[in-house]
């Protein structure tokens, strides 16, 4: 009772497709096309249809009927409106969606040689703003979904195959402060642990009606990541690799030795120091040491991915192995990752299905200190070109004594040989699920998700001599462990009756997490062996500290969807969350959401008149909450806690009252209203999705700090201010995504994708009329951001410059600036003049005002894809417009207050008696006002960047057939080719210092994004 069916499978260009998987549905029979695309399959008479599947193509199911010859044409998976999107606790046809969701497919992500998933989203998803906090390999990334939502954390919730990562996007990399100096930029990307090659799709839930099902954790948006799984059919082997070289994209124009000598000859007499005779004849001087050249180098990157996938009968599987290695462009920075992923799905019974997935990752990151005084970049900028890298006797340069003056001891090249900071991270995460089809329309799903993390951070210093500095060996070894689990059970009900569609979900979730850490410090390591056991036996030199914490949440959730005739859809959701972060009276928060959709183009009048057009209108409203506390908050925050110290304090054993409790602390609230349209023109040649929204955050959880004089703060050694609910913030914006198929012929396809994100953020209300959000850097008194009601969060706050004092008349008419009188050591010719903002006849703190916002007016991404026969070409441009940056490095490099530090060449155009029209103020080491926080250092950080150019070539099938290959593609790519900007620093993409929204776009020696050239290949068997 069998018959044989033959046929040919072709692609959209009519070419035969070898290796297409063909399965008879309901029977245990399968085959694949041969090199020409022809197939022959023998099936029993009971078989009703054939399923054709091929990677990257849309699977097809063809009813057999009476045919004995079935020819099939397969198409690429690119029909947006037919796609399936991932929603919380399920999937849905995009056509049925009434809330705001953006999807990015795997093929849009390939050829982007980045370490982290989060970086892949930059410029690819409307409403999602991605900024690199650091160009450091493995460095941190700021992600905002529709603006700034909260004071404490703006990290969206990442859910990977159902596993939530609730601890945010940033992990710490500390230890430099134990070696001298400060920690600088310590944030790293948590997503660096996930291998991007394993990703199938990324869906972004942007508005509350979509997010509500996740409740409190979704306040900052939800990013759903689906990883690749096995498919039915013949097994596949994939190998992908790429190799790249990186370089710094931009350098500063610092003085060389001749210019530095000229500068010294001019300014040393001002401070009463003799000029060095070595500098008297400028003509014999060379360039000296180029410390930028010393600190930057060519980096390289390589990636190797091997995966196995397939399916047979009721089981499908996926296994991948990945190795990623990235050497940074800055001395002392690199990143390695090893990861593996496994998933298995099995249809146990016709009504029961089980699955398991597991990911294991190990990453090793060596960090170069950045974004801080004492950092490599800081020193590379200020070190004198007179200082040699190495002395004639081979010792490290630094601390030179020239003409009676000792120059800086710092030697960043030498230091990099003696100091380092290494972070090793191990993660295992995954999930187990069981799904039961209880009734035809009712199913039950049980999920257990888990994550185990282990971090080891080692900061070390070897014994040695660099310049005038003698290093004592030291080891700071910090380890931490964490686990998380989530137990979720929910029922799904789907019912379709004629034109009516009804879907419902009801569920319960319990989550818990725990972490612990310990850190040890030792000095005088024997033979420089970095092991705590080799350290000094003198216990007074030991350090030991640790900590631990936990958290739990229980939730109930429900959702209902109704659709009618592919024209009308409505969705409602509700979630109740109870968190251990809040006191007994305020433990539970309640979060409803609702959305409606109307597919206008399915109405009769539209079908008759504009049959080639698709139009859908969406509206949504939802509420979500936020339970995230600021860093350093006592846990829990509603009772007064006692803090103990890891070492001796006061008379030895001491404690302190850790904070002021607030039993009334409650959930932070985020309410979003969204309206959008989906538009298709010319039979889908142009697709557009446009959303407008308003998001209001209130009852924000903040430390109720104010001026220092109150005596409370938010630092580790402060009496902690009480946590309170205060203030309100609003984001309004518009997201636009447009895809255009410009040309589509057999040989040539050209598609353009544009994403546009614009949002406006306003800090509406503060804790009180006089309170505000303040950001400080470098030392506690240098306040640079101060957000008052009505301003965007993280607003720069300072004096407004009004040119320089250039004439005696200017001085005669001058106002007292911070109490200064007219005197060469105080206010004098060549000094900066500030505006009297409050009109009281003097310049002081009351004249500080808003001088710029770090948030852009809009960001955009433009992608062009061209396929011509076997070639493919991609050009991706992204940019940001309107954001301001505080160039703290320039505060140093144009400070004109130290005779011995190197400066930008711009200082040669400073005011002097001979140069009264100079663009910069005079040199002075007594007038502190010239370096006060002012718009002098606030710059336009707008930029347009050619983010990616890729050219690929697919080997023809004739060649492939000879090697038994199914697919073979090679490509070349350039990342960050060119950045167009007026910003004077290394990189206008600065991000947030340690992911703090109070310190966005503050450049304190920021590690720039590198330019990378890559070649790669993909092979499939």
């Amino acid at each position: 009772q069998q018959r044989t069916i033959t046929g040919k499978v072709t692609d959209d260009r009519g070419e035969g497709l070898p290796g297409v998987s063909i399965v008879a549905k309901g029977a245990n029979q399968g085959t694949a096309t041969n090199a020409d695309g022809n197939y022959s399959i023998t099936v029993p008479n009971t078989a009703t249809s054939l399923i054709f599947s091929f990677v990257g193509m849309t699977p097809k199911e063809i009813t057999i009927g009476n045919q004995t010859k079935i020819d099939v044409k397969m198409t690429s998976e690119d029909q947006t409106l037919e796609e399936v999107v991932v929603v919380g606790y399920g999937t849905s046809k995009r056509a049925d969606i009434s809330s705001s969701i953006t999807s990015v497919k795997a093929k849009d992500l390939k050829d982007m040689p980045v370490a982290g998933v989060d970086q892949m989203l930059q410029g690819k998803a409307a409403g999602v703003t991605v900024t690199s906090n650091s160009g450091q390999p493995g460095g941190g990334v700021s992600i905002k979904v529709r603006g700034v939502t909260s004071i404490n954390s703006n990290d969206p919730l990442f859910v990977i195959d159902g596993v939530p990562f609730v601890n945010g996007n940033t992990s710490d990399n500390r230890g430099f402060d134990g070696l001298g100096g400060s920690n600088g930029q310590t944030g790293n990307s948590v997503m660096a642990m996930l291998n991007p090659n394993d990703i199938e799709s990324i869906d972004v839930l942007k508005d509350a009606s979509a997010q509500a099902i996740y409740g409190s954790q979704a306040a900052n948006g939800v990013i759903l990541i689906t990883t690749k799984k096995g498919k039915q059919g013949e097994g596949k082997i994939n190998y992908e690799m790429y190799y790249g070289v990186s370089e710094v994209a931009n350098k500063l124009d610092l003085m060389d030795l001749r210019q530095f000598a000229q500068y010294q000859n001019e300014v040393l007499p001002i401070i009463g120091n003799p000029v060095s005779d070595e500098f008297k004849d400028l003509s014999v001087l060379g360039k000296g040491t180029d410390w930028q050249e010393a600190m930057f180098r060519h980096g390289n990157v390589q990636n190797h991915q091997l995966s196995f996938s397939g399916g047979k009968d009721k089981t499908s599987y996926y296994l991948s192995l990945n190795y990623y290695d990235n050497t940074g462009i800055l001395l002392g920075s690199d990143f390695k990752r090893f990861s593996t992923r496994f998933s298995l799905d099995n249809q146990l019974k016709s009504w029961a299905k089980v699955g398991v997935s597991a990911n294991a990752t190990r990453s090793i990151q060596n960090v170069s200190l950045a974004d801080a005084a004492e950092s490599t970049i800081w020193w590379g900028a200020v070190t004198s070109p007179l200082t040699p890298v190495k002395n004639l006797d081979g010792t490290w340069g630094g601390g030179q004594m020239i003409g009676g003056v000792r120059y800086s001891n710092a030697n960043l090249v030498g230091n990099s040989q003696f100091r380092g900071n290494t972070k090793t991270t191990n993660n295992v995460f995954g999930s187990l699920y069981a799904e039961f089809q209880i009734l035809k329309d009712l199913s039950l799903r049980n999920e257990l998700s888990y994550s185990l993390g282990q971090d080891n951070n080692i900061a070390f210093q070897k014994t040695g001599n660099v310049g005038g500095d003698t290093f004592r060996s030291k080891l700071i070894d910090s380890r931490s462990d964490s686990y998380y689990y989530s137990l979720t059970n929910y029922l799904n009900y789907n019912k379709y009756i004629n034109k009516h569609g009804f879907q419902a979900t009801v569920g319960h979730q319990a989550q818990s997490s725990y972490y612990q850490s310990i850190s040890g410090t030792k000095v005088d390591l024997q033979a420089n062996i970095f092991d705590l056991n080799t350290g000094s036996a003198d216990q007074t030199t030991w350090g030991l500290s640790g900590g631990k914490g936990h958290w739990a949440m229980e939730s109930y959730f429900a959702r209902a969807n109704y659709t009618y005739d592919d024209r009308y859809s409505v969705s409602a959701s509700f979630r109740a969350d109870g968190s251990s972060n809040f006191g007994p009276n305020n433990r539970w928060g309640y979060f409803p959401g609702v959305s409606v959709g109307w597919t206008v183009s399915n109405e009769k009048f539209m079908k008759e008149k504009l049959s080639s057009t698709y139009l859908k209108v969406r509206f949504g409203y939802g509420a979500v909450g936020n339970q995230n506390f600021p860093g350093g908050a006592p846990n829990p925050a509603y009772v007064g806690a006692v803090q103990f110290f890891s070492g001796p304090v006061g008379f030895g054993t001491s404690n302190m009252i850790n904070g002021i409790p607030n039993p009334n602390l409650k959930w932070e609230s985020v309410k979003t209203t969204n309206a959008g349209i989906d538009l298709g023109l010319f039979n889908g040649r142009i697709d557009a999705t446009i959303d407008v929204y308003k998001k209001v955050t209130s009852d924000m959880i903040i430390f109720l700090t104010g001026p220092n004089l109150i005596g409370v703060g938010d630092q580790w050694d402060d009496l902690k201010a009480p946590l309170g609910n205060a203030g309100q913030m609003t984001n309004t914006g518009i997201d636009i995504g447009i895809t255009s198929t410009n040309i589509k012929t057999n040989d040539l396809t050209w598609k353009t994708n544009l994403v546009f994100t614009k949002f406006k953020n306003t800090y509406d209300k503060a804790a009180s009329a006089a309170s505000a959000l303040d950001g400080k850097v470098y030392y506690n008194n240098y306040l640079i951001t101060h957000t008052t009601p009505g301003r965007p969060v993280g607003s720069f706050w300072g004096l407004v410059t009004d040119g320089l004092y250039r004439t005696q008349a200017d001085l005669d008419n001058s106002l007292p600036q911070f109490g200064y009188i007219v005197d060469p050591t105080q206010t004098y010719l060549g000094d900066v003049r500030f505006k009297d903002i409050n009109g009281d006849g003097k310049i002081d703190a009351n004249d500080m005002t808003f001088i710029g916002s770090p948030l852009p007016d809009f960001t955009y991404g433009l992608t062009n894809n061209v396929n011509y026969k076997n070639f493919d070409f991609t050009l991706f441009i992204q940019g940001s417009q309107g954001a301001k940056a505080f160039n703290f490095l320039r505060w140093q490099l144009e400070g004109l207050n130290s005779a011995w530090s190197n400066q930008m060449t711009t200082v040669l155009d400073r005011y002097t008696d001979d140069n009264p029209n100079g663009s910069l103020p005079r040199f002075t080491n007594t007038n502190k006002n010239n370096t006060a926080m002012s718009d002098r250092y606030v710059e336009d950080a707008s930029y347009l960047r050619i983010q990616n150019i890729t050219l690929g070539y697919r080997v023809p099938r004739k060649v492939l057939n000879k090697i038994k290959g199914a697919n073979f593609r090679i490509y070349g790519s350039i990342q960050n080719l060119k950045t167009f900007t007026k910003y004077s620093g290394y990189d206008p993409e600065i991000g947030a210092f340690n992911n703090s929204i109070k310190l966005m776009n503050v450049d304190a020696g920021h590690y720039p994004n590198p330019r990378t050239f890559t070649v790669g290949a993909n092979v499939e068997f």
Partner: protein
């Protein structure tokens, strides 16, 4: 481009000189050598005694190198040898100026044939040491770069500086040397004529164990709390007033701590035994202190009075007995 560590990328060449400026200088002076092929120098040596000169590699280009004359370079005409990383050498003629200089001397008093040790620099080629304004030369006993020992001549001068001449030139000391033979001796190797001990409390005792000049000094124990003084008395014949004496000079070896001693005389306006601020001498602990005090600046000798008592009085000492030693107590014209 290749990565470098920031050093100037200048390789060694075939070094040639187009001149060195200045072409003669003293130690510590900055020199500039110009020419071609001067890159990547590794050593600079002043030929005489092979004295190396350090320099900064950042001050070295293909056309120039900037460095300083070593402080310990030997004086005179010589070559400076430059060697680059490829081993190529360049010799450039140069003259190191090395005037003698004097930092310290072992004594300020002299008599015929007494020896004085002079510490300073560039003393190894000293040709002559002469009392300024005279033709009387000291005899050079020994000389090294840093030290010169001379035997003083007989002389009729009251005091004089020394003219020291070496191959570079002449140096006149700022230190002035007193001719003991022309001074009124209160105590040198014993009490001067007519002088004796009249100390309060413990008597002055001549010591052969402690001295600055000769072989003897006089020591005095100042008892705790008694505000005593050492007294050099000359009741008969006493010293008649003479306006010719301009200075009191004395070496005092300090006690266990810093103390002030007050000069007091019976010919002073204040009278004997009194404390006058202008008569204060600050004596540092444990070392020989030299004092040469202008009589016009202190209350020492009123016109017309005879001098019968010269004392050095202390306030205290408060903690314990203290011993001071006195040598070459003289009046100088």
């Amino acid at each position: 481009t290749e990565d470098t560590d920031g050093r100037p990328q200048i390789g060694p060449g075939n070094p040639k000189s187009s001149g060195i400026k200045p072409d003669s200088a003293a130690g510590g002076t900055v020199l500039t050598l110009k020419g071609t092929g001067l890159g990547d120098m590794r050593s600079i040596v002043f030929e005489k005694n092979n004295v190396p000169a350090g320099f900064q590699p950042t001050l070295n280009t293909d056309e120039a190198i900037i460095f300083r004359v070593p402080e310990d370079a030997s004086g005179g005409d010589q070559n400076i040898i430059f060697t680059n990383s490829a081993g190529a050498k360049l010799s450039v003629p140069f003259k190191v100026l090395a005037f003698p200089s004097v930092a310290s001397v072992s004594n300020y008093n002299f008599t015929k044939d007494s020896e004085i040790t002079i510490d300073g620099n560039n003393l190894d080629d000293v040709i002559s040491v002469t009392l300024t304004g005279t033709t009387e030369q000291a005899t050079i006993v020994s000389k090294t770069k840093k030290q010169l020992v001379v035997k003083m001549p007989a002389s009729a001068v009251n005091s004089a500086t020394l003219d020291i001449v070496n191959s570079t030139g002449l140096f006149k000391t700022t230190q002035e040397f007193v001719n003991l033979d022309k001074a009124l001796k209160i105590f040198t190797e014993g009490y001067g004529e007519g002088f004796a001990d009249g100390s309060w409390g413990d008597a002055g005792a001549i010591s052969s164990a402690q001295f600055k000049s000769g072989t003897k000094s006089v020591g005095k124990n100042y008892q705790k709390g008694n505000w005593h003084l050492i007294n050099f008395t000359n009741w008969y014949p006493s010293v008649p007033y003479s306006a010719d004496y301009k200075y009191l000079s004395v070496w005092i070896k300090g006690a266990s701590e810093d103390y002030s001693l007050y000069i007091t005389t019976d010919a002073s306006k204040a009278g004997f035994g009194n404390y006058v601020d202008s008569n204060k001498l600050n004596v540092k602990a444990g070392v020989w202190n030299y004092f040469k005090v202008r009589l016009a600046d202190i209350d020492f000798w009123s016109a017309g009075k005879t001098l019968a008592q010269v004392g050095f009085r202390i306030q205290g000492p408060d903690k314990q007995d203290e011993v001071f030693y006195f040598d070459d107590v003289i009046l100088v014209k």
